[in-house]
């Protein structure tokens, strides 16, 4: 508890004791008023002074002002116990709220406590010095001892160990790493001493990016949040107006039309009850708290969500569009066969690797690996990349064209094609066909389960987009039970198909796109919810995405949807519950069934329950 909270707690205890004593003393009239005024002032002096301050600044519907009017009114009507009790409960509720919010702020903060405090570097004599991670330059060698967090992204140059990546990916199984492996900041080194050469600055490292994402997450507000803050803006004045009407109209009505006693006391009391119910705090607090806890819980499970609006949209996803390579497949290709070659297999691979040597596309990397290090005899003079087709490279040996069937057709090269599943890369030297290399990419182990899991959480349509050949795309889609597949796409085709799917669906249903590559960035931006694969994915894709899956496991898409549904369920429960109870109490208050005790329950009790309900969102383990 903070100092401020402790002080309020002390005031609550003292006021409660004084009130208990006062109600036992058998006095009446002025003496009783004075006896109750003492605890009332102790518990309520700040509310009263804030109320005056509010009036000076023309904030008539300030909740301090409402409480002040309600309790002072009750005192004037002679309801001393109720007047001071309402103030007491109001303060208790506020204290609970600030304590609960502080507590969940802390526990969510701890959940995301992946910020490294220091980095070890060696000084001249070889002993370790703890340094601020901020001032470490790229290329510095840092030492990570067992049990420490890796502070900055880098490459291992010495040592081997197991890493606990749970903070980043939600994956509890440790990952083995050795010399040459790239490691991400935020992982915990479990066993061996690691020497790491940094490849990023601290500000650009994974851990800093994640923290920035999560901390800025709730600025993008969801519709529910905006609804409730707008509701609160009108609710309080409306109820106050109703209170004023209630205090004046029925008594006048009785007096003039029924010729009965005006009974102002009863109606003013009912109006004061209204004022107590008009405080909007219970409504307002539980919604952002629910979203905050939902985003916190999701990041615990390795799913980064960039805003509450995306969490909300995710819960309405009915159509999921996948990119194939790297999303549903491992993204690491292997050469599966070589056909129709007019040069030796080795020579063919060498030519292909040479042409692709500047590209980082997964297929290019596979070709480079297959060719090995040997035989890069000739130099590249110029490389032209033709998106969706392949590359044409000018080398000292001649012009090497390397790409798909479309490229060969475009260049007018005669060739023979061997039909098989897998991606075919055709190679030509000086416009003469040299051969066909077939590479294939295996599906991720969880890809099929992921599609089924999506169907179970209510996704109606799954679509796969790929730049690959039709046969390959369709084979993969059949294997995974994906409904629709579009193959042989250029990057701009992906956007067009995404537009088409967006226009086909109903407006309340949302479309999610899952991708990883650089050419996915436009589609990620265009779709309702863009989901990027984090560890494999490119920085551009992660920037453009709304949700990032840290461990690249497609099963997490369904998990993220389940988290979002639970969170939205709780948010809706809270909205309905809080508004419902308040309206019920208003009605009961107007007919005189509910008194001020009821009203204060409607305010404080509902808030406590809503806050406790919201905190439930944090628990996403068993989803």
């Amino acid at each position: 508890m903070t100092k401020k909270q402790k002080k309020v707690l002390a005031r609550i205890i003292i006021a409660t004791l004084l009130m208990a004593t006062a109600s036992l003393v058998p006095v009446d009239g002025m003496a009783k008023l004075v006896l109750f005024l003492i605890p009332y002032m102790i518990i309520g002096y700040d509310i009263l002074s804030d109320a005056v301050h509010g009036i000076i600044n023309r904030q008539p519907f300030d909740e301090n002002f409402l409480m002040a009017v309600a309790t002072v009114g009750a005192m004037l009507l002679g309801e001393y116990i109720e007047g001071s009790a309402v103030m007491l409960f109001y303060q208790t509720g506020e204290l609970f709220q600030s304590y609960a919010v502080g507590k969940s702020r802390k526990s969510i903060g701890e959940l995301m406590d992946i910020r490294p405090d220091y980095a070890n570097i060696k000084d001249e004599i070889g002993s370790l010095v703890q340094t601020e991670p901020d001032c470490i330059e790229i290329g510095t060698v840092i030492v990570v001892l067992p049990g420490e967090k890796i502070p900055i992204d880098g490459k291992i140059i010495k040592g081997a160990s197991s890493l606990d990546t749970a903070a980043l990916t939600g994956e509890s199984f440790p990952r083995d790493v050795c010399v040459g492996d790239e490691v991400k900041s935020g992982c915990i080194n479990l066993v061996g001493v690691l020497e790491i050469e940094t490849t990023h600055e601290f500000g650009e490292s994974t851990v800093s990016k994640i923290l920035e994402l999560v901390e800025n997450a709730s600025e993008k507000k969801s519709k529910s949040e905006n609804f409730i803050s707008r509701f609160a803006r009108y609710y309080t004045p409306a109820v106050c107006l109703a209170a004023a009407v209630l205090a004046v109209v029925p008594p006048l009505f009785r007096m003039i039309l029924m010729n009965a006693d005006a009974d102002f006391g009863t109606w003013v009391y009912r109006a004061l009850t209204f004022l107590v119910i008009s405080c909007p705090c219970a409504l307002v607090i539980s919604i952002p708290l629910g979203f905050f806890a939902g985003i916190g819980g999701a990041s615990r499970a390795g799913v980064l969500i960039k805003g509450s609006n995306y969490l909300e949209a995710l819960s309405q996803v009915k159509c999921v569009v996948f990119d194939k390579t790297g999303t549903m497949t491992k993204g690491s290709f292997e050469v599966a066969g070589i056909y129709n070659n007019t040069v030796s297999e080795k020579e063919l691979l060498r030519l292909a690797a040479l042409a692709e040597s500047c590209s980082t596309h997964p297929i290019s990397r596979c070709l480079q690996e297959a060719a090995g290090e040997e035989g890069f005899a000739s130099e590249l003079l110029d490389v032209k990349e033709i998106g969706g087709h392949g590359v044409v490279a000018q080398s000292s040996e001649g012009t090497v064209a390397c790409g798909n069937l479309k490229l060969m057709k475009m260049l007018g090269i005669e060739l023979s094609v061997h039909d098989c599943t897998g991606t075919s890369v055709f190679v030509a030297l000086d416009n003469k066909f040299c051969g066909q290399i077939v590479v294939s990419d295996c599906l991720k182990a969880d890809a099929k389960a992921a599609v089924f899991a999506l169907k179970r959480v209510g996704v109606r349509k799954t679509v796969m987009l790929t730049g690959d050949a039709k046969a390959v795309g369709e084979a993969a889609a059949r294997e995974l039970c994906i409904d629709e597949v579009y193959a042989e796409l250029l990057p701009e085709d992906k956007v067009n198909i995404c537009e088409k799917l967006l226009s086909e669906k109903k407006s309340r249903e949302k479309l999610a796109f899952v991708g990883d590559g650089i050419n996915d960035a436009p589609v990620l931006t265009r779709s309702d919810v863009g989901i990027a694969m984090g560890a494999l994915g490119s920085d551009a894709a992660i920037e453009a995405a709304d949700i990032v899956l840290m461990d690249d496991n497609p099963l997490k898409i369904a998990k993220a949807i389940r988290i979002s549904k639970k969170c939205m369920g709780i948010v809706y429960q809270n909205i309905c519950f809080a508004i419902g109870i308040k309206l019920l109490c208003l009605i009961l208050g107007a007919v005189g069934v509910a008194n001020m005790w009821f009203a204060i329950f409607a305010d404080v009790g509902v808030m406590v329950l809503a806050v406790l309900n919201a905190v439930r969102t944090l628990n996403v383990k068993n989803l």
């Binding site: 804030d50 301050h53 600044n57 904030q59 300030d62 909740e63 506020e94 709220q97 600030s98 919010v101 969940s104 702020r105 969510i108 901390e215 800025n216 709730s218 600025e219 507000k221 803050s229 609160a232 803006r233 909007p280 705090c281 307002v284 607090i285 952002p288 708290l289 905050f292």
Partner: protein, 72 residues
């Protein structure tokens, strides 16, 4: 230009009111408060003097919520 400031405020509704008040200050294009993270993100108009604008923002916020604090 956009900057993020740490704030202190007790209740969620007060944060909403501060957000409304801050948005009305001259020189501010948009202000948004994250109550759970206790942060205020302010987008300034071009050429606005942040310090002076933030002083006005704080003054306006104090009018709706006396206990609030913005660290700038």
């Amino acid at each position: 230009m956009t900057k993020t400031y740490k704030i202190e405020v007790d209740c969620a509704n007060c944060a909403n009111k501060m957000e409304l008040a801050a948005n009305k200050v001259k020189g501010v294009i948009s202000a948004s408060i994250n109550f759970m993270a206790l942060k205020m993100k302010v987008g300034f108009e071009d050429g606005a003097d942040e310090k002076a604008v933030m002083k006005n923002v704080l003054d306006e916020c104090r009018k709706v919520e006396r206990d609030c604090e913005i660290y700038f």
